[in-house]
């Protein structure tokens, strides 16, 4: 076993430039929502070269749309498939799913980027671009790990199921589709950008839209109207209070180093059409974090109660109540006991490669792990090389060294978890 590990580690050390180049190509393919196909083509080409058995399909059939966990406002999936690639084991080992999402969030204000958001530019050991950290770097690490095993002539006993899914950033329909297609395993690793931390628990989250009504008027006589923007200020303040109250209740030690374990993020506001008019409607959209211990429904109820209070406290809102919708993305919270064998395997590999103890924390965001565990009943751990702080930010980057180290940790975990068929391995 030691010599097998050595072969894998050596291969990975010798092929770092190749791994970085692969990530660069993957980042250069813009895979924002609705544009995932060209990046998936890069994945497909790679998996084909590795000899994996490919399953490429468009999601969105009636079966998934009826599923209670389906939460998606996308109408058309045509031409942007899910990809699953299987390396069948020789038998007798534990199976594993390696899951990564190919979709990336929008680039935001391009003026905040020093370079083209899809440059893949490498400088001082960092590779830049939207998706580099979240989470194409994690996907590249998984594929490097798989390649290192295949290239070293090693045969795994358990099945290895690599998944490159769409829609993670919008509610997880891609992973749900993979679960419903029947992919199951004894464990799953999702290399989201955890800063090399191990996350057994994942925050859930969901999107909300609050509609604030005002009354239009000419700006010169603005006292004749009711500004939806001014009323929105109350709503924003109340959401900030609610966030404080909810987070004060979180006592799980896995969250002790996280400033806001379950944030309420207001991501969008839009109100008004004309500088000289009093705006008559404002739309606030955001993301509400859900604790691993609570249900989606409990969290929703808490926010709805909070807005209902505002509706009775404010004279205007009494007659023109705030409306809340839960739309688009929703990520189920997930939780794995910290002494699960999968955590042990990953921890052991982490120590072997880095010589250090890993940090075990709760995830500050929802991942597809919620669907894999809650719907697929698969033990899930989230661990990856990306830099948490720059996910969704301008000038997003990944530290390539972390990607290489993660690929070694994942490769070691695979052979430990799935087992090596020493007879058929070269």
């Amino acid at each position: 076993m030691k010599s097998i590990e050595m072969r894998i580690k050596n291969w990975l050390k010798e092929n770092r430039a190749k791994g970085a180049r692969f990530l660069q190509i993957l980042v250069q393919e813009n895979s924002t929502r609705g544009n995932e196909s060209s990046a998936q083509a890069v994945i497909i080409e790679k998996c084909r070269q590795l000899g994996l058995t490919l399953d490429i399909w468009e999601i969105g059939g009636e079966d998934i749309k009826q599923h209670p966990a389906y939460c998606c406002d996308r109408e058309n999936f045509e031409g942007n498939p899910n990809v699953v690639a299987v390396l069948k084991g020789t038998g007798g080992g534990k199976s594993i799913i390696l899951n990564g999402h190919i979709d990336v969030v929008p680039v935001g204000d391009e003026r905040n980027w020093d370079r083209d958001p899809f440059s893949g530019h490498i400088e001082c050991g960092r590779l830049y671009g939207r998706g580099s950290t979240d989470m194409k770097g994690g996907t590249a690490a998984m594929l490097m790990a798989i390649e290192s095993i295949i290239a070293s002539g090693i045969k795994l006993k358990g099945d290895l199921i690599f998944q490159s899914v769409i829609e993670e950033e919008s509610g997880g329909a891609g992973t749900l589709a993979a679960v419903l297609r029947g992919y199951h395993a004894d464990g799953a690793i999702i290399p989201e950008p955890t800063n090399m931390k191990i996350f057994p628990k994942q925050q859930g989250s969901m999107w909300f839209r609050i509609t604030v009504n005002g009354k239009a008027a000419h700006g010169g006589t603005r006292y004749e109207g009711v500004s939806a923007i001014e009323k929105s200020q109350f709503v924003l303040e109340r959401l900030q209070q609610l966030e404080k109250v909810r987070n004060a209740k979180i006592t799980d030690p896995l969250y002790e180093n996280i400033p806001i374990p379950i944030p309420i993020n207001v991501g969008k506001i839009s109100s008004g059409q004309w500088p000289s008019s009093v705006p008559d409607v404002a739309i606030i959209e955001g993301r509400m974090g859900v604790a691993p211990e609570e249900t989606i429904q409990e969290a929703k109820q808490e926010m709805e109660n909070c807005l209902a209070e505002l509706n009775v406290q404010d004279e205007w809102l009494k007659d023109h109540p705030l409306k809340i919708e839960w739309f688009g993305g929703r990520w189920l919270p997930g939780s794995l006991e910290t002494d699960h064998p999968l955590i042990h395997t990953l921890t052991e590999s982490f120590i072997e490669i880095t010589g250090q103890q890993p940090t075990i924390e709760a995830s500050p965001w929802g991942t597809d792990g919620g669907i894999l565990s809650t719907i697929g009943h698969i033990p899930v751990v989230v661990f990856g090389p990306g830099t948490t702080e720059v996910a969704h930010d301008a000038n997003e980057y990944i530290i390539l060294e972390n990607m290489f180290v993660a690929s070694e940790i994942i490769a070691l975990s695979l052979i430990k978890w799935c087992g090596v068929d020493e007879e058929t391995s070269e």
Copy 2:
């Protein structure tokens, strides 16, 4: 003279239905910015039928663009002309400009309208639709007044210059173009929706755009970012304070019944692209009122100072300062002494028709009167039949009775101001 007045009043009383029908047709033509042409066609047809000398031209030549009072972000004026129609006097009288704008503001959220915003629906003496009050009703009243004089066979001594201009809602380029084309008179009436009040002073105003920078991050770790929406809340609060401070300084008795003489209206806010991301930029747009006694420059300076203070007080803004732009619309303040003969004429006519004293106040909004007076050096009074409170609002309407009464007051003012050539009149 009494019999002339009687003939005009009788004609107007007999032709109320015709006037209402004319306004209905005018309102039914959507004349939001860039779409003024079909409503101007209605005006042109009417003026042609009245035998006025028409001047129809596209504004936007190099001469106007170089003018310091030109303040316009519109690139294309093609196909949406200004219209001026002249009724030449027989000589020896004072000339007058009757100025109305044909452009209307956007309809806002259509769900707030009970009917199609351009329905022109008449119910209980009100005519509904965008522009009915601001200010097609005023324009219709002017044209009724002109028609009553012509139809009664009366010849005015002074020239009557009727103007139907574009761009009032966006900074007055249409009226500026008319001034630069050489149209001048001894006085001007603008029937903006004053609730039948007489406004010798007009508030100036201008548009501002404040850019608030944040730092993007994933919403689940929102503490890694800086929300442009949260920073915008400070800005909105500060603008509210500034409005209070500025209005506390207004002591002019003409403003005593106006709750906020020179409002700062935030008309638009837009921030963020994705519910799960911390927004990295917010754009706030609004309208700042300018007192008749201050200059545009003084008002600008006051707001710029206020934002500069915020920029030093807030740690984040210190390094990422707020930016302010003065864009699009700007309306010069205007002022006419309350004992000007034009005010006397209008007041006299008002009393004659209504039997009551008019309310003389300061205008709560900028009008094209600022350009006519400041650039054209023409004494201007703003007086019109529209309902101030519903200007720019959903379900905008005009009380038709007011329109008819205004047409009588304007007609009387015209014969008093311009004088009647009794020899040539029938």
